[in-house]
Symmetry: C2
Amino acid sequence: MNETNLSRTPTKVSADHIRDALDQLVGYHLRRASVHDLNGAVAALDDVGARPITMSVLLSIVEQPGSTSADICRMLGIKRANIVGLLQQLEARDLFLRKDDPADQRIQRLYPTETGLKTALDWLNRIRQHEEKTLRRLSLEERAELRRLLSLIWSEDTSGE
Amino acid sequence: MNETNLSRTPTKVSADHIRDALDQLVGYHLRRASVHDLNGAVAALDDVGARPITMSVLLSIVEQPGSTSADICRMLGIKRANIVGLLQQLEARDLFLRKDDPADQRIQRLYPTETGLKTALDWLNRIRQHEEKTLRRLSLEERAELRRLLSLIWSEDTSGE
DNA sequence: TATTGTTATACTCTATAACTATA
DNA sequence: TATAGTTATAGAGTATAACAATA
């Protein structure tokens, strides 16, 4: 019965309803591309004893001198608890200084040292070389478009602390 | 001395050399977008006791019945050791069956059950609803273009086992 | 009450090494 | 020698809860 099956609901689920499903999910490609890129970034920074997140924190301090650690956490979408060790590593290498805020004694404002500036530039150049490799099949226009589309996805993200 | 500074190498590193550096890195946007999307995907599957990677494995079995677990690992870019628990979860829910290969006794070929097909469709629909949210600011053309650009980045990845 | 910086801790994901059985 | 499936384990990343000091 129901041989003509005019109903939109199939009487039997078949694999035909799930064809190339994974390949059509943007999230799947996002994940694969992000992991691929991250692996390359980790390798690019391995020689200098840094990780991508370490570089992001240092770059934040360089780009926004005077930020607090809580500011940086909000900027990068990470938790306050998880920046502590990262800052300790950077501090042990004299890449930034903490200065107590005279107006608010809860706060430490972070400023890059001269070494921190040089190091940030070095790390950044390593990452740029790595990006040149991962993006070698994309034109400059495509790279800019990709950046634009990606930022449309996450830029309203308020989940980070 | 050297006031005109004709050299391309600055005598003093300044933060001016690192302006909007993080924002210009495609890898940074890749990471932020991927994390944002993944969080939504995790939430979308939470009700049904699945994770994105669990769904990916089930979809692989549905789309390529008769694959081995090693095949799926190569397809998804994950390690053989890490699929064992995922398969055990799916197996405990009767979503697929293992059949010994008569020609090669090392191999188990995986086939979805009827329940597995229905479940895959359900999970997929949940993910599609979630994607509609994360991609709401992108046109259909932009979504297709994003998928194309992302696959250009990772499609030659051979790092997965 | 809320925020900052911090500690402790748990959970997930991922990576490596080793083992067996088979080819 | 190489591959498949598995176990055990270690390392990152990330999450929550709690705390003291301060606003």
